[in-house]
Amino acid sequence: MSGEHLSTVDNGAVAMAAEQRSAGVPDLVARRRRRRGAVWAVRLAAVVVWLVGWQLTATYWIDPFYYSKPTAIWSRLVGWFSHGTAFGSIWTQIAVTLEEAVFGFAIGAVAGVVLGIVLGRARFLAEVAAPFIKAANAVPRIVLASLFIIWFGLGMSSKVATAMVLVFFAVFFNAFQGAREVDRNLVDNARILGASRISVLRTIVVPSATSWIFASLHSAFGFALIGAVVGEFTGADKGLGLLINNAQGTFDSAGIYAGMIVVTVLALVAEWLISTAEKRLLRWRPPAASADVQT
């Protein structure tokens, strides 16, 4: 799951892998499967080593008051999922945070892509807007979160706004750069073939910028979750952020880590969905770049 983005054929090593690759195509499938197995094995091993190490250290050396320990975190998770939390069912908290993050992600991503591409292609506008956008990007999100609560109230909208802002900037800068990096030849060719400005944008600039945009989307849902959590930290009556905040307030380090784990799992699931979408959209790529066909 979610290994697709952060993974690629080492183009440079293609020939180095020559021997392994010298067989036919069907063989490649088997090999790919085997390699996936190895990847999972190493991942699993890493997790096990880490958890065992943590458990031992926290039992014998460091202070679990700060660092908690895996068994304590596990039992906190079990507790949440079987008995619920201080604020009601854990599923409610997840649903609330997820809803905020999804809306924030959707709005922020769309706004970032659209504005990024438009400014990427409109020089004067971009120059005028540049200092304002950069200035806005430097506003600390936790300050923004309280401003949003003042502006939009304690409800969902203030958290959506915080999530949106984090996503927006992550996506915007990449979409902007992606729109700038478009091969000039392709644009010229399209214009000669009769493309209007809009068509150029739609058929040349957007597809060219796709890998830039996806590069940012991969981390953007994580940002959306962070935004929702930060918003909940600032004021809320439900949500994972509140849960973590409550754990902080009650010296429950296991609760802090458990909350972080839930957030993380959400991010990984979202990431997997995004990677699937990317794979479909970038099917045209040479296999080396999309890590798909060749070993």
Partner: protein
């Protein structure tokens, strides 16, 4: 102090004798005003101490850095010492500046007709500064005294200051617990009304059936043991401040504080000081009954303390040894 560490052994040892760092749970909060005021009055210096005051807006972080030895003292609510004892951490209040919470249960003006006492909390959205904070516990206690359970109302984290006010103004919360200057601001603008005033002994007893010690300087037990002279000097300075507070008017006190503190409006700040200073005692001494009441209140809600009341040794959560000598 850098690097990961294990603080179990070294917590008390850190810090040279006359260098003290104190974390204030919101240095600009009026309920913690004696800390900054002592500094402003120069009393720490006069005791030969080099005190660094740090600030941190909400709750639990302060304890973490105290236990880890990054700071030697915390100015915060006494109830944390009880909470921490249940986590096997020894922290004790050495100067107890107030026996009342200094908190006020506010109600939005337009709901004041419907919410006249904690009885009316049912089905309401109640604001607290943060989950797990004293405002949270006191709110739960108030509600439970009326036979309400957590499911009967919604606890909303509303923060303090502008977020709290905005929440109250636009219906995010119906009522909520907070301190000055938020209270003063709400009252002066007419956005909120006082429902329960726990800034006075009388109001506190009425609301909680006893006192509830709040603003205190608490320190790691090991540190107190290892550096009695330093702690004594701190106690001397702070008790002196408490006495100074009692000898001066709110205007005079406000004038001693950094000008920035009145940036929200001089009038407002003076008003906040005026309505809060009543909570401070003049000797820094803990009232044993108040401590017991605190345990009782905590014991009915805090997930950490609930069911462990009997195992808590209150004598390890405060000492009057230093303030006795100071006064």
């Amino acid at each position: 102090a850098t690097g990961c560490r294990d603080s179990r052994d070294k917590a008390g040892a850190a810090g040279a004798d006359n260098h003290v760092s104190i974390m204030v749970g919101g240095i600009d909060k009026v309920i913690y005003l004696p800390a900054k005021l002592t500094d402003q009055l120069g009393y720490f210096k006069q005791e030969g101490l080099d005190v660094k005051l740090l600030t941190e807006p909400a709750g639990a972080q302060a304890e973490n850095v105290l236990i880890s030895g990054d700071v030697q003292g915390v100015v915060g609510f006494y109830d944390h010492t009880i909470d921490l004892q249940t986590k096997h951490k020894c922290v004790e209040s050495v100067v107890q500046m107030a026996d009342v919470p200094g908190e006020v249960e506010m109600v939005a003006s337009d709901k004041a007709g419907q919410i006249r006492s904690p009885k009316d909390f049912k089905g309401r959205k109640l604001g607290v500064t943060s989950p797990g904070s004293s405002t949270d516990f006191l709110t739960q206690y108030l509600a439970s005294k009326q036979g309400l359970t957590a499911a009967d109302y919604t606890t909303v984290k509303a923060g303090a200051g502008q977020t709290f006010i905005a929440a109250m103004e636009n219906g995010g919360i119906d009522a909520g617990m907070t301190t000055d200057p938020t209270v003063a601001q709400l009252v002066s603008t007419g956005k909120g009304k006082v429902l329960l005033d726990m800034r006075t002994e009388q109001g506190t007893r009425a609301a909680l059936g006893g006192l509830y010690p709040s603003s205190s300087l608490y320190m790691d037990c090991a540190y107190v043991k290892a550096h009695p002279q330093t702690v004594q000097k701190l106690a001397n300075a702070m008790v002196r401040t408490l006495k100074w507070i009692h000898a001066h008017s709110a205007e005079q006190i406000a004038a001693k504080m950094p000008a920035d503190y009145a940036n929200g409006g001089k009038q407002l700040y003076v008003q906040s000081v005026k309505s809060t200073i009543g909570m401070f005692n003049s000797d820094g001494r803990m009232d044993a009954g108040a401590a017991r009441n605190s345990l009782k209140v905590l014991g009915s809600f805090s997930p950490n303390v609930k069911g462990k009341q009997d195992t808590v040794d209150l004598s390890k959560t405060y000492t009057t040894q230093f303030v006795d000598k100071a006064s």
